[in-house]
């Protein structure tokens, strides 16, 4: 169930009638049916003759000194071909996305539960597992540094990284921080301007990306002394950039090809098994495959930062925001990963899509002995949204105003300034999204006389036949940036080739974009069809033979690599038309490609493309750069930091069994501006998926850590929503073009993950009257039994 509102795309209208499967249509993904039927080849299905299996020994302790590592027994195991420790690393021993602070294999100490210490290659996974068990490590176990209090007092509790080990500007156990001040900041004078002040402290638990395809890949040693790596990842080129120095190889000798990816959500931005497989392959001269088990996967990738947030907001009696004063503390865990960028997002987006004249913000990420945290869908904006949206509801209540009307009164719009000083120079229909989401029809009320228990909290667990059920409704809106920020040039490269195959014009699109399930390859084909007026499009496997496509993250791939495909296809089109002008002397200025032909609007069909192409293919490569951004000033947070903004508004309807503390989300409505829906069905899928992941964070998803130890590394105890937890998600799409973006499009994937969680919590609060300052909300919070 979804509706689609086309606002204004006159200025974007393209000569698109020729291709039924061009942009704006919803052709199906080529991988969809295969995945549903279990026939898709994932990276874990890779196989090579003579291949060995790699496996890592991981630390059972979150913080310990390694006194000795004895691999002799493991090496003696028949079938074992290599056992490596950090001493066997030929190149740099450290890597990292932003700060190279993570050892490829632990050196003299471990900093988190699950840190890899040694790796084994054997001719059978079971042999590798047994050999791993035979590696003897002597530890001196230390008390882990895990709480904010402990992290901020290193003189008492110790350093996660000793100051002399810092690879960046860290100090104490603070990995990165960002301050922001706008307007007058927050002073007693500013506070005095507010009639109503509300404060709140909020906490966000550690969410996992919970992708279903475990980390896996195959490294094949090459004759030139290099290595070919087939791997499920989010960004081939940045993987290579980190792998090559550790192997002591030039980048061109490390060649990556994307293997079948089973979901990512940020969890594949950092390296996992890549370096280990390559090290083992180069050492043994044999192909090496590594596949993480499900529990190892929980230790093998970074998670969403848990956060503690403190907010104080002031507003006038008539409901205008006066100021916001906030502190966001993110637990980054043992290694930096993407923490600096997550901090930048939390600070710059942490006041929400609202006009607030005076702001003071301090966001920081800590080093701790908890699991490392980094990228996950929503990236720093998710944690903040739970804080500021909870505050908006509190303020509305304090002012006795409707929470949606209060938000609308303060909603930012095109032309307004972000707290960073960046002017919003594209549509920002925040008030409109809120109006529309409120106007969507509500689901029918619960029928208490004869309810279908499958629709109640608890469902077939048969906990209620209607007893104790109270309904609640909540609203929220959120803001997310699109693309990499703070001066980063995350350009994308695309090569488009047009040639005649089998008597038909066929386009081939080659990029290094990681298709992780987002539907990018479908969109690339649509763009090629639209720009080149052809029906047949082939997608070349993604690899490092071509330039970078940037990361499949930050809602950026359709914008950035889609944009590169558009540029390359346009160039090919111009080249083809130029060839025609040279050959036939065309003088018309209205020449386009459509339906396999070169056409002029005034003169009709000029020539079939097949004839003009003949045997001469046209192949061109283009890079797409977004407009430049600037770093934020470290003290004031001022700067033109973000490429684009994305907004989503939600309404959640929940039924709560108030006696048992069980929750059923009955409906989760989303209204989002997408600029231009290149594939409306895929856009709706992204929004519904984002909402579902947000639902998980609201009511169930959390990695439980005690003293640095992960307690629930399994899908038995790390719960993600099932279909019985996932309600109907009606989606309304607005298409307000962004003049800076290809086709006017706006990145889609993350905004609903930012905005939907607070709406669900607001709905539970309305049903129960309980404050709820922590997510995920557990039944214990609702029953006073924590």
């Amino acid at each position: 169930m979804s509706t689609r509102t086309i606002q204004d795309q006159k200025n974007l209208r393209k000569l698109n009638q020729a291709s039924r499967h061009g942009i704006g249509a919803s052709p199906l993904r080529p991988d969809g049916t295969l995945k549903v039927k279990g026939e898709f080849a994932y990276s874990s299905d890779l196989w090579h003759e003579d291949m060995l299996w790699g496996m890592a020994l991981r630390s059972p302790h979150p913080r310990a000194t390694i006194l000795s590592v004895d691999v002799s027994e493991a090496l003696k195991t028949p079938g074992v071909h290599a056992v490596l420790t950090h001493e066997d690393i030929p190149g740099s021993k450290f890597y990292g996305l932003e700060i190279a602070d993570q050892p490829a294999l632990a050196i003299d100490k471990v900093r988190y539960h699950g840190e890899a210490i040694a790796i084994v290659a054997a001719d059978h996974p079971e042999t590798a597992r047994r050999a791993v068990r035979k590696i003897k490590v002597e530890y001196r176990v230390l008390t882990p540094i895990t709480t904010e209090e402990q992290c901020l007092h290193p003189e008492t509790y110790g350093y996660v990284h000793e100051p002399q080990e810092y690879k960046s500007h860290a100090h104490g156990n603070i990995c990165h921080e960002q301050r922001l001040v706008c307007g007058l900041g927050v002073t007693d004078e500013v506070r005095a301007m507010a009639d109503v002040i509300v404060r709140g402290e909020y906490e966000v638990g550690m969410q996992d990306q919970a992708f279903l395809g475990p980390e896996s890949g195959l490294a094949v040693p090459a004759e030139d002394g290099g290595v070919d790596l087939y791997v499920a990842t989010q960004w081939l080129h940045v993987d290579r950039q980190q792998i090559a120095p550790v192997l002591g190889l030039p980048e061109e000798k490390v060649r990556l090809t994307l293997a079948g990816v089973g979901g990512a959500f940020g969890g594949r931005e950092d390296l996992s098994m890549q370096i280990h497989a390559c090290l083992l392959a180069l050492r043994t001269g044999r192909p090496v495959k590594i596949v993480y088990s499900r529990d190892e996967s929980f230790f093998g990738h970074v998670h969403r930062h848990p956060a503690r947030l403190t907010y104080e907001h002031g507003a006038t009696r008539d409901g205008k925001l006066v100021y916001s004063d906030a502190r966001i503390v993110l637990d980054g865990g043992a290694y930096a990963s993407a923490s600096p960028a997550v901090v930048g997002n939390a600070a710059s987006l942490g006041n929400g899509p609202y006009v607030i004249p005076n702001v003071r913000m301090h966001a920081l990420a800590l080093y701790s002995n908890n699991p490392s945290c980094g990228a996950m869908r929503g990236f720093g904006a998710v944690q903040a949204a739970f804080g500021y949206e909870s505050q908006m509801d509190k303020l509305a209540a304090a002012l006795d105003m409707d929470p949606v009307e209060f938000r609308r009164l303060n909603a930012m719009a095109e032309g307004d300034l972000m707290p960073t000083g960046q002017r919003i120079d594209a549509p920002a229909p925040v008030a409109e999204l809120l109006r529309r989401v409120k106007d969507m029809p509500l689901p029918p009320p619960l029928d208490p006389t004869d309810p279908d228990i499958r629709t109640l909290p608890g469902a077939r667990s048969n906990t209620s036949h209607g007893e104790g059920i109270v309904r609640g409704v909540g609203y929220s809106v959120g803001i997310k940036n699109v693309g990499f920020s703070e001066g980063f040039d995350d350009y994308s490269t695309a090569r488009v080739r047009l040639e005649v195959i089998g008597g038909e014009p066929v386009a081939m699109v080659h990029t290094a974009m990681a298709e992780v399930g987002q539907g990018g390859i479908t969109v690339h084909a649509q763009i090629a069809r639209t720009e080149l007026g052809v029906e047949q499009v082939t997608i070349h496997p993604a690899n490092t033979e071509i330039g970078s496509a940037g990361s499949t993250s930050a809602s950026r791939q359709t914008y950035m690599t889609g944009g590169a495909v558009k540029l390359a296809a346009e160039a090919v089109k111009q080249e083809l038309i130029a060839r025609g002008r040279r050959r036939y002397g065309w003088t018309q200025h209205d020449i386009e490609l459509a339906d396999g032909k070169v056409v002029s609007r005034s003169a009709g069909v000029l020539v079939p493309m097949v004839e003009l192409l003949g045997d001469g293919a046209i192949e061109l490569t283009r890079e797409h750069h977004h407009r430049p951004t600037q770093p934020f000033d470290p003290q004031t947070g001022q700067g033109f930091g973000h490429v684009q903004y994305s907004f989503c508004a939600n309404r959640a309807v929940v039924d709560v069994d108030v006696e048992l503390g069980l929750v059923k989300v009955v409906e989760l409505t989303a209204v989002q501006d997408v600029g231009k829906a290149l594939n409306p069905l895929a856009v709706i899928g992204q929004i519904q998926g984002g909402c579902t992941q947000a639902l998980g964070l609201a009511v169930m998803e959390e990695i439980i850590i005690r003293d640095g130890e992960v307690r629930n590394a399994s899908f038995t105890d790390y719960l993600i929503p099932t279909i019985l937890d996932t309600p109907p998600i009606p989606v309304e799409i607005l298409e307000l073009p962004d003049p800076n973006a290809p086709y006017g499009l706006r990145g889609v994937g993350e905004a609903p993950t930012v905005s939907a969680t607070p709406s669900i919590v607001a709905a539970i609060r309305q049903a129960t009257g309980i404050a709820l300052n922590r997510i995920p909300v557990r039944p214990e919070h609702l029953t006073g039994t924590l």
């Binding site: 077939r460 048969n462 906990t463 169930m700 099932t722 019985l724 039944p779 039994t785």
Partner: protein, 296 residues
């Protein structure tokens, strides 16, 4: 790891006698998870899938003889009438795929306190018994009250296999409730089974996931039995007083000995037991009252 595939029951007993550490496997919904997570690496697996009689059930003299390998999906489909409590519990097991494979025999063999079958089996009365056998000593019946010995420990000898479970056909309303923090596919945080036995005027209960073993709430059973007797409620089917329902809930709660773990706190488990006990009692008694009034 050896993989033994006996063709019939006698062969299976022989294999178990020869290799007492062999782990029986039928649906594999529990055993395979433990192997995949490297929790358990048995020396041998004893595959019971060719022992077809284990996947059969019969009703004789008012007792269901449920083969150890009858999957949950068939219990729901075929036995909701005679075993309503067990069928309700079967509905809460895992996903449709798991219910197609998982079995009561597996639940009994694993003897996890969180197994969904245990509360309804305990509640179904003291005549419930697990039929086990060994090649050396033949068949014996273990009363369900004597079956669970500790966390994941049961009364089987190393050379014994579970053949069937004997459960009297329900003679009154039965209910089952289970708490989990999502609406499907959860291990029980706490569970409760209740059965009314009008024929012998007793009440059966079973608590899951809230003590080292599945257990009955004996005082709650006795209290309710006493009230029903004294107030002649078996005859009248008149509504229970709210204080009776309340007291029953408190006694069920008191019978539990739960722990705090990643799935829930001990306090929450106790709290939910009292709520589930009150609700299931209300549903059972309403049904019983309707039966009495329609019979009158």
């Amino acid at each position: 790891m050896e993989f033994l595939r006996p063709a019939g029951w006698d062969e299976a007993l022989a294999a178990k006698a020869e290799c007492p550490t062999a782990l029986p496997i039928s649906g594999g919904t529990d055993v395979m998870v433990e192997i995949n997570f490297d929790v358990h690496r048995p020396a041998a697996l004893l595959d019971l899938n060719r022992v077809t009689e284990l996947a059969e059930w019969t009703i004789e003299d008012g007792v269901v003889r449920l083969g150890a390998a009858v999957p949950y999906a068939r219990i729901i489909e075929e036995l909701s009438g005679p075993l309503p409590g067990l069928a309700l519990a079967a509905h809460t097991v895992g996903s449709p795929q798991i219910r197609n494979r998982g079995t009561v025999g597996g639940n009994l063999g694993a003897a996890s306190p969180a197994g969904d079958s245990h509360p309804p089996l305990l509640a179904a009365g003291r005549d419930v018994a697990v039929e086990v056998a060994s090649r050396a000593r033949g068949t014996r019946l273990i009363p369900i009250d004597d079956f669970y010995l500790g966390v994941k420990r049961n009364a089987l000898a190393p050379d014994e296999l579970i053949r069937r479970v004997h459960v009297p056909v329900a003679d009154g309303p039965q209910q089952f409730s289970k708490i989990g923090t999502r609406n499907a596919m959860v291990i029980a945080v706490a569970a409760f089974g209740l059965a009314l036995h009008p024929r012998n005027r007793t009440v059966g209960t079973g608590i899951g996931s809230a003590a080292p073993t599945p257990r009955r709430a004996v005082e709650a059973e006795e209290y309710l039995r006493g009230v029903l007797e004294e107030q002649r409620l078996w005859e009248s089917g008149a509504p229970l007083g709210s204080e009776v329902v309340q007291r029953f809930g408190e006694l069920v709660r008191a019978a539990a000995a739960p722990i705090d773990d990643v799935r829930g706190t001990a306090d929450y488990r106790r709290h939910t037991l009292s709520v589930m006990a009150r609700r299931t009692l209300t549903w059972c008694w309403n049904d019983y009252g309707k039966q009495i009034r329609s019979a009158a």
